[in-house]
């Protein structure tokens, strides 16, 4: 139980004012602009948008600045802000097949229509600190090449037909789509709710879970079938206009994991799939999401549930870093009354414990008194 406290207003005010000064840092150094944050810390901004579940680069940049770069705090700020806005409705599902692709790779198929496009990536860098970057020197313009193919079919669409790779289940048109911002989580949860939960889940948590499946806790034998990053059109069906209005584009990363599967009573041997879709270029998260999505499908595929990454209640109840940090960090707030009660309780228990010890000792020495030494004492007395 948490009992509120009063007071401390002045100290709180002064602390926040001090924090604002510390946040600003050395005033002889120019302050960060939101354009600088959005433009140069794009992946941090994307992470905050994804986990904050709100795509708005300007707001995410402001949140990062306000949070002094504490990304979970920034996610919290974004989540709080979104509650102040009305919801107009739901978009049409985005078509990742029609993406303006900036990066597209497959670890399973070497030759694919549209080709492998590395795009802007940290892959194949040597992870050596670049001191030239510290000096902010001249930068070469990116090279360009002739564009020969523009169609970028998804890898998973290329292999349909043979049944070697599981195909997407076509939805019933009228099927309701779960929304965990509207109704509280309950179990068992459908894949729609699981994917929404993972899409806004903490990158570190999902990474650790995905890693655990690779290390043997619910092994799923994943291959990166395809990872693509780029811009997709968002459309919103406006009732009053009677058609889907194009709203503009957002950048997303999509990951198709392809998993070797030896089959079960329900399903023949084939490659099954896990799916990841996140705001911005956050590949690690998209990959982790796809791996956890696949491992959470254990029941559907008739696999034995043995590992944390297969337990939807465990995963979904702990993936949200705003909830998690709220509960962990609330421990910093005054718990004086709580603790006073606990103190009394522990004092009483200790009293009882010492009493019991004393009683036990007394009983023991009494028993000793009637034991062998006692006998010898008796004998001596005699």
């Amino acid at each position: 139980m948490y009992v509120a406290v009063k007071g401390g207003e002045k100290a709180i005010r002064n602390a926040h004012r001090l924090m604002a000064t510390k946040r600003r840092g050395d005033r002889s150094v120019p302050g960060l602009t939101l354009e600088q944050i959005a433009g140069q810390l794009a992946i941090a901004v994307a992470r905050v948008m994804g986990e904050g579940s709100l795509y708005d680069e300007g707001l995410a940049a402001l949140a990062i600045k306000q949070a002094r770069g504490d990304l979970i705090e920034a996610v919290f700020l974004l989540r709080a802000y979104r509650t102040t806005l009305p919801r107009f409705g739901y978009s049409e599902p985005v078509d990742t097949g029609a993406m303006l692709v900036e990066r597209r790779i497959s670890a399973t198929f070497k030759d694919l229509p549209g080709g492998q496009l590395l795009g802007p990536t940290f892959d194949y860098t040597h992870r050596l600190l670049d001191f030239k970057l510290a000096a902010d020197g001249e930068l070469d313009a990116p090279l360009t090449a002739e564009v020969t193919e523009t169609a970028m079919p998804r890898v998973t669409d290329l292999l349909s037909g043979e049944g070697l790779i599981e195909e997407d289940v076509q939805p019933e048109e009228t099927a309701a789509v779960g929304d965990l911002t509207r109704e509280p989580l309950s179990f068992p949860a459908g894949r729609d709710l699981r994917l929404q939960n993972l899409a806004r889940g903490d990158e570190g948590f999902l990474l650790a879970l995905a890693y655990s499946t690779q290390r043997g806790y619910g092994r799923t034998h994943p291959f990166a079938g395809e990872i693509r990053y780029g811009a997709v059109e968002v459309e919103f069906f406006a009732e009053e206009l009677g058609f889907a209005v194009p709203l503009g584009r957002i950048n997303v990363t999509e990951c198709q994991m392809v998993n070797q599967f030896k089959g079960s009573a329900k399903v023949p041997p084939q490659f099954t799939r896990g799916y990841g879709l996140v705001f911005g270029q956050v590949e690690r998260k998209a990959m982790s999401m796809a791996m956890v999505d696949r491992s959470l499908r254990c029941e559907e595929l008739g696999e034995e549930r043995t590992a944390p990454a297969q337990d939807e209640e465990f995963v979904m109840s702990h993936s949200d870093n705003v909830q998690a940090t709220g509960f962990v960090e609330h421990l910093k707030l005054p718990h004086y009354v709580d603790f006073q009660a606990e103190l009394d309780l522990v004092r009483r228990m200790r009293g009882e414990w010492f009493d019991r010890q004393a009683a036990d000792q007394a009983a023991a020495s009494e028993a000793i008194g009637s034991g062998p030494t006692g006998t010898s004492e008796k004998e001596a007395a005699e």
Binding site: Y90, K110, D168, Q170, Q196, A199, E240, G242, V245, L277
Partner: protein, 160 residues
């Protein structure tokens, strides 16, 4: 379409498609670029605000596996606006972001575009340049990305 829709407004699929294309061009533009483009139509026609620019959220959906059943990915900020010209034609906008100015401008352009004697001018002065600018930006992205195309080849290991 609402029953009170004016006769000038798009009603066939064809004009709805053209209107969508026009709206896509407006949505792709920055608020500044749209404002600059609108200079071509000065003076702006008299209009009343039916729904003042309002910022809200649209929940973006994806599909499981890319083509399967929909799920909710996360929200995006969207600003909408409805204006009515003196002759009763209403213009609407829904644009991503929080720019009230952009939403108002887009709604005005939508209203003007629906006037038969203005469609051509709006297409030429606003839609075409904005669409061309967006297409050029896309072409740059494609060309820069194409330079990073790799041809992996597998090598047979020299097993003894």
């Amino acid at each position: 379409m609402p029953a009170e829709a004016p006769p000038q407004s798009a009603s066939s699929d064809l004009s709805a498609d053209a209107r969508r294309r026009m709206m896509a061009a407006l949505a792709s533009a920055s608020p500044e670029d749209l404002a600059t483009a609108l200079n071509a139509l000065l003076p702006l026609p008299a209009h009343e605000m039916v729904r003042a620019p309002e910022t809200g959220l649209v929940m973006v959906r994806g599909r499981m596996g890319g083509t399967g059943a929909p799920f909710n990915l996360g929200e995006v900020t969207v600003t909408r606006c409805v204006v009515r010209l003196e002759n009763g034609v209403a213009g609407s906008s829904y644009v991503m972001g929080r720019s009230k100015q952009k939403a108002l401008h887009a709604a005005l352009v939508d209203a003007l575009w629906q006037l038969p004697d203005m469609t051509g001018k709006v297409e030429e002065a606003i839609v075409a340049p904005l669409a061309a600018r967006a297409a050029a930006a896309d072409a740059t992205v494609r060309a820069e990305t194409a330079a990073t195309k790799v041809d992996f080849f597998t090598m047979v290991r020299g097993d003894d």
